[in-house]
């Protein structure tokens, strides 16, 4: 029987890896994938708590997180395609139109 802390520590490690990816990579699509990784780490926390507290609310919340992730994927990738059409690149360092 794996304890709750095992799942929580795995989830913390995955979240930190995702955050390092968001902070260090420059390709917008890779940053997007790292955000998905962070969302999944949080989902794992929700489901682990849901099991160990005997309550299904956490899993319903995971359902909503997945819906938001799907909506985010559709809009985010459409934005990236629109940006690529203008600039021929999806490097985040080229996204400086609003920079002061």
């Amino acid at each position: 029987m794996v304890s709750l802390n095992g799942y929580l520590i795995l989830s913390a490690i995955l979240f930190s890896i995702g955050m390092i990816g968001v902070l260090t990579r420059r390709n917008a699509i890779v940053i997007f994938m790292c955000v998905e990784l962070m969302l999944n780490a949080v989902n794992l926390t929700f489901i682990a708590f849901s099991k160990f507290l005997g309550n299904l609310d956490g899993q319903v919340f995971v359902f909503f997180v997945m819906t938001v992730a799907a909506a985010e994927a559709a809009v985010g990738l459409a934005l990236m395609i629109a940006f690529y059409k203008n600039r021929e690149s999806i490097d985040v360092e080229d996204m400086n139109l609003l920079k002061w």
Binding site: M1, V2, G6, Y7, L8, I9, L10, A12, I13, L14, F15, S16, I17, G18, M19, I20, G21, L23, T24, R26, N27, I29, V30, M33, C34, E36, L37, N40, N43, L44, I47, A48, S50, K51, L53, G54, N55, L56, D57, Q59, V60, V62, F63, F64, M66, T67, V68, A69, A70, A71, A73, A74, V75, L77, A78, I81, A82, Y84, D91, E93
Partner: protein, 167 residues
Amino acid sequence: METLFFSLVAAIAIISSILVITNKNPINSALSLIMTFFCLATLYVMLEAPFMAAIQIIVYAGAIMVLIVFVIMLLNIRSESGRRTNHALFLGVMTGVLLLIQTWYLLWKSSLTGMKGSVDSAMIIKVGHTELIGKALFTEFLLPFEITSVLLLAAIVGAVILSKKKL
């Protein structure tokens, strides 16, 4: 036996998520991310949430990742060139490690309340996981469920507007 299996799946999940952020080629990153999603689905099965594991594979590994891989191939992105300065990498990794230490400290210092709900493994096996989720979704969480449909409609409209020829 279960601990051994958990360690194996956790190790694969961590290694493939490290590959996501270290690979130079976005396609390789996407494939490693799919591997991580499958490992997480395995963990969901171990946590007695088979419906969530199925959704994880169908929606995440199936729909969202196919969309991402499709866009990567559509844009034909080449690998990153090493223009990034070293201190940005250093600061990013430092922040991540700091966050990990913080979370670790929190987990080490805190404990669960001990208040448990009514759903246990016997009930999940008897009633069925999908039925329990469906009951919760369509009674207690009906309003958030309806709001989610509005969110999806807004996302569809946004995606169509953004991908028009003249923005």
